[in-house]
């Protein structure tokens, strides 16, 4: 291939192209248009299906007590009780719960993504005795259901005085969540060619340096993904907060949500209102993180 391409900047990823490449580009663009239209059609249909339950959720959140499930179901609530949102937020100390949830979630996410990327890098890039055994062990911890380790975990935390603190929820080594992100980062890191690493090694760079200066900047999409996954995991986690936090002032939103449902009564309208509110921060985060999904770095001259 005779194209000469050179990255202009790492962030914007614009290219200076050879004429032949540019021509091929245009030709491909023309071929893509009908496909794009078809994709739009398919996506719109699927989106409508996916959005239907949300529409129902919003509709239900505005209904009167006792009228939420009427047969036949009514889509437009009449009357529309906007005060349900107020009731959902104030019936229980939701703002306090929100504060607690934010503290736990943000700390855990920051710590978690940071350490998961470091550990994942270690498993992906470095050679050390016992690496593969430890990685298998790491992965294996995902496979035991947490129900049966709940009580032993409780006993350990109690012994070191962590019960009734946020610490068990922040430490990013819990079964599940964190290991997943280590594995993800490892997979992603293993797709990055080692050429830059080796060049850096020659210059005497340490692994830490390589991780920080080379691998991390190339991993923005996966880091953004890990951050979102971590955020959502901690945001919605209710069992461990419930069991490990004994003071009701330390409770999280996810626990509050479950209080709308009991043995005989489900407060539908309030449950839906609270769920809708709980979704908002995640939506906001997701929107904000969108730009990291498009990496923009073209790694030419190395791959291919």
């Amino acid at each position: 291939m005779s194209a000469n391409v050179e990255p202009v900047s790492a962030e914007t990823g614009t290219l200076t192209l050879d004429r032949s490449v540019a021509q091929a580009h245009v030709a491909v663009g023309e071929r893509r248009r009908p496909m794009h239209i078809m994709l739009h059609v398919v996506f719109v249909i699927v989106c409508l299906v996916y959005l239907l339950p949300f529409a129902w959720m919003l509709s239900t959140s505005l209904k009167l007590d006792g009228r939420e499930i009427a047969m036949p179901p009514e889509w437009i609530p009449n009357p529309a009780v906007w005060s349900n949102y107020y009731r959902a937020m104030t019936g229980l100390p939701m703002f306090l719960y929100l504060q607690n949830t934010l503290t736990i979630t943000i700390t855990a996410t920051a710590l978690g993504v940071f350490t998961a990327s470091l550990t994942g890098f270690g498993f992906a890039r470095l050679r050390f005795p016992g690496r593969d055994v430890l990685f298998s062990l790491c992965l294996a911890t995902l496979m035991l259901p947490g129900i049966v380790t709940l009580i032993p975990e409780f006993l350990i935390y109690r012994q070191i005085g962590w019960i009734n603190t946020f610490l068990p929820l922040i430490e990013p080594w819990t079964l599940g969540g964190h290991v997943l992100r280590i594995f993800l980062f490892r997979q992603y890191a293993m797709t990055i060619p080692q050429d830059y690493d080796e060049a850096a090694r020659v210059d005497g760079a340490s692994a830490l340096r390589i991780w920080w200066s080379i691998i991390l900047p190339l991993s923005r999409p996966v880091l953004a993904t890990m951050a979102i996954l971590a955020f959502i995991y901690h945001w919605n986690d209710f069992l461990r907060p419930l069991v490990f936090l004994q003071d009701k002032d330390l409770r999280t939103l996810a626990i509050g949500l479950r209080l709308f449902r009991s043995e005989y009564l489900v407060q539908w309208n309030l449950l839906m209102a609270a769920s809708a509110l709980m979704l908002l921060p995640i939506l906001a985060l997701f929107f904000a993180a969108q730009r990291y999904f498009v990496q923009g770095i073209v790694m030419t001259g190395i791959k291919g």
Binding site: M71, I151, R158, I160, A200, Q246, R261, S262, V266, Q267
Partner: protein, 479 residues
């Protein structure tokens, strides 16, 4: 790559900082890990010491008990030398309004008992058992805990609830005897009731009018309100299809909800669920099979009782106005405030005997390992007593557990327009206290799966009952 900047991070520095990091973290982790092995063995089979330790608080409580019982429930605060006591209270609420109700009750308790504060831990009911067990096993039991008849037996048999018999010697008289029976075992009392919900029926006056049928209330007045009448009425008022479907009888959604529904028509039919010693289920007896057969017929042939698919967790079907009669407890009343139809109330019908009724009450228990038994007991008796009534009973969510409170202003004030107090009084008086024996949860799942097969036509009723009994009998053996 520039050479200069990277030279600073020489290999020696790398090793030095790595060593520092490792050392620091190792030190911290050693401190933490020192605690861990000590805790982990505690979870292992090296625990014969536990019952001995558990027995000691009970012993220590006994000398204090006579002193506590000489003072009536509304006594002046008598707490251990000097100051504030905080009680950890684990209950579950069923809505934000319910949550507030608990808080109001506890506030009133603290007002009446300065020096005792209540820390209300509202645990969602779905997670209550998991949380309670973890806290108790983990060594941080609450001071007071809500008890439920479905699982209280396991706690009692395992000595995990404090024996309240001596403390309650003088307080017992105020309570309805059946209410105390739910929380007793072998003459010992383990819980102080506060919530009672004996069953009765709601009926939809509008549907009966439309069908031109005599209402259950009219039958009750004439003395013809029997289970046979109920079956006939159920068939009469049901009909329609699709979204217009009307059901005659909503038997608490689940025909094999043994503890909270099924026992009643069986008892009224002269039958019983187990033999007297509770060593055998009598599900294959004629009385039981007869009762379950009409349920199956009403559900499958006449379509007069909804199937699980019609009601599963979609909330209370009666509320939608498509059900003629529904089995209910008082906690359902608050759901009918916005009803789009005329609501009527009637008591449990009678059969060959009866009417015998059931209850699904709640009580306050004092878990083993709690250290503030006097204060905890005070809270237990406060809740179901006259001092809490202006708040708790007045909310209209429960029926009184003490007989005198049926005459109280609080109770009278709580009555809604469609509620009839005589139905409530009769319901409370006819309760037979029955807890599901042995491994109740597993037994219920066993009969549920057999009944599922009946509902899809895979099995007939006698076979299902026989199979269920075979699976459930071994579960009656308690360790």
């Amino acid at each position: 790559m520039g050479n200069g900047t990277l030279q600073r991070f020489s290999r020696r520095r790398m090793i030095q900082s790595a060593a520092l990091a490792v050392g620091g973290l190792a030190g911290a982790s050693l401190l933490a890990a020192c605690g861990a092995p000590a805790a982990a063995p505690a979870a292992k089979p090296a625990e014969p010491a536990k019952p001995a330790e558990a027995a000691k608080p009970a012993e220590a409580a006994k000398p204090a008990a006579p002193a506590a019982t000489t003072a009536p429930a509304a006594a002046a605060p008598a707490q251990p030398a000097g100051g504030q006591v905080t009680l950890k209270a684990m209950y579950w609420s069923s809505s934000p309004e319910d949550h507030k109700l608990f808080e109001d009750v506890f506030a009133a308790f603290s007002a009446k008992n300065p020096g005792i504060k209540v820390d209300f831990d509202d645990v969602p009911s779905d997670d209550f058992q998991t949380t309670a067990l973890t806290r108790i096993v983990g060594g941080t039991p609450p001071d007071v805990m809500e008890l439920h008849p479905a699982w209280v037996l396991s706690f009692i048999l395992a000595n995990q609830l404090n024996d309240l018999t001596d403390r309650a010697k003088t307080d017992k008289a105020a309570y309805l005897p059946a209410q105390l029976d739910f929380w007793s075992s072998k003459e010992k009392l383990f819980g102080m009731p506060y919530y009672s919900g004996p069953s009765f029926l709601f009926y939809n006056k509008t549907i009966f009018q439309k069908a031109g049928a005599k209402t259950p209330e009219e039958h009750e007045k004439e003395g013809t309100w029997t289970w046979d009448t109920l079956i006939a009425l159920a068939k009469q008022v049901s009909g329609g299809s699709g979204a217009e479907k009307t059901f005659g009888w909503d038997a608490s959604t689940n025909a094999v909800n043994l503890q909270f529904y099924t026992c009643v028509p069986i008892w009224d039919n002269g039958g019983d669920l187990t033999n007297k010693e509770e060593t055998e289920w009598t599900l294959d007896s004629p009385a039981v099979i007869e009762t379950m057969q009409w349920h199956a017929d009403l559900q499958l042939k006449d379509k007069a009782i909804p199937l699980p698919s019609d009601v599963k967790d979609i909330s209370w079907l009666f509320r939608t106005g498509r059900v003629g009669m529904a089995w209910a407890g008082r906690f359902r009343s608050i759901e009918l405030t916005n009803a789009t139809f005329d609501v009527g109330m009637v008591g449990t019908p009678k059969g060959k005997v009866g009417p015998i009724n059931r209850d699904g009450p709640n009580a306050t228990g004092l878990p083993m390992g709690g250290k503030q038994l006097d204060a905890a007991y005070k809270l237990g008796t406060f809740f179901g007593g006259p001092d809490a009534a202006p708040i708790y009973l007045a909310s209209g969510r429960a029926l009184p557990v003490q007989s005198a409170l049926f005459e109280s202003d609080a109770f009278k004030k709580s009555l809604k327009p469609f509620e009839r107090s005589e139905v409530f009084t009769n319901a409370a008086k006819t309760v037979r206290a029955w807890r599901i024996p042995g491994k109740g949860a597993e037994a219920l799942r066993a009969i549920q799966s057999e009944w599922d097969k009946v509902l899809i036509g895979q099995e007939d009723v006698p076979t299902a009952m026989k199979n269920a009994k075979a699976t459930m009998d071994p579960l009656l053996k308690v360790r």
